[in-house]
Amino acid sequence: MSRTRWESNLNSHCQRLNDYMTGSTGLAPMSDRATGLSKRIYLSHATTVSGFSKSWQGGALISAAALARKMNTTLPSDRLEVRLGTADNVFLFAAPFRYPDTSCGFLFAPTLEEERTVDGAASPFDSGGLDRNITFPKEYATAPDFLYQHEFPLPEHRNYLRLSMENLFSRPEHYIEGVPPKDAGCLGLAGGDSRRWTHEVRVPDRILLRGSHLQAVFAPRSLVSADPQLEEMFTWCRDSGVERIYLDAPVDGDFEKLKAACVTYIQATLYNEGINV
């Protein structure tokens, strides 16, 4: 872990993006909208109902490596996170819930990053996508090499997010709404989907749930009523002022309800409040 290296990465990539835009369509002026949204966008972590319930029972989201240690086992060496060197991290998106869970999710305030500035890092893409779906430039021999050069510090990675929102997307809101950027930028990534341009935040070991950073919890209403752990969680959230978003069953083949509800929540809380347009 090296915050110095992460800062150096960030500075050079911000400069590269500045130069790239200046050399193509021209650098967009700094906008209040992109500044506000990039600073205040929440951190999301979607999970299965089983993971949601167990996390609450254990009091924290914990990394795959920490979970393995807890169970006196080790992760297989060919596991993606082991190969990337990220197995000891809890993964979040600085974006709405996106992939692959459709049932439940935790949304954290960006203040979480301020407590993990020493050990937490971010990248301007989903590192898991580097495995096969997203291709990276040949000058990097391996996915871990590429990731190493694109780790940014918390919370300053949001400066790069602001630049991306302003320059690569038709509108800053498109990043949140999942509309692909009009320009893929200069990272050299190709293929894949929203994972290619969604900021990933990695926090080592664990994230406590009953803390001041928990912003909102999302789950199907049927599961909250049926699972005692979820009932306890939502009751605690109700008493603690954490917002609760209930989803209806996907009877119509719509398995984007979690994602859509999260976008709606962000639109309701960030688009109109406290952000100058």
Partner: protein, 222 residues
Amino acid sequence: MKELMSKVWKLAELDIIGYADVRERTLLPAIVPPVFQLRIDRDVVLLPPYKLDRDVVAGATSVSLMEAEQLKEAGKLTFLSGGAMKAADSCQLWLHRDGRMHYQPIHEAKRTMEQLGRDAMKRAIEELKDGRIDQAEVAASEAILYNDSPVEPYAIKAAIRRRQGNLAGEQLMAELARPVDPAAFAILVDHYSGNATPVQPALVRPDNRSVMDHIASIPVYA
């Protein structure tokens, strides 16, 4: 470097190899999102979030089979034990209370699940009448898992929380039920608590839900 449009896949070209969920038996039944595999390239696996619209799946995330297997190991996916099956238009994958998997036209699945929900609700009322609170609660949960729209099973659970002296739990059930009229819901809870006269459940049935309610609801209680 310009972006490509997001992709849409024809269901006729896909197999189902699993679903993107892992459920304890106590949290069944459930409608689950299929994990698709491209028939002409078995290494392309499609995962949610996505929308199924008649004969297509739109907005899915494409991953390799290896990544899908790793997600299974990570407890995020379940693979079908009997191997792949063909995907079909306008069909729904759902798990019965007993764990059996069904894949059938959406309207048939809806009808079956609503009927099973009504059956579970009847059992809940009977169990409650007979004082078997634990069984009544299990049956009410089953009714909600089959069909989360009717408010009566939530009222039974709220009544049980009241009997347990759990006011917070009772209030949470009211929040989950989204009754059109909270006062009418309270009367229904009184009824199931055994300290009031019966009410017409139709009084509190949320018939007037908006389209947004079916997508998600940001609670007014926050």
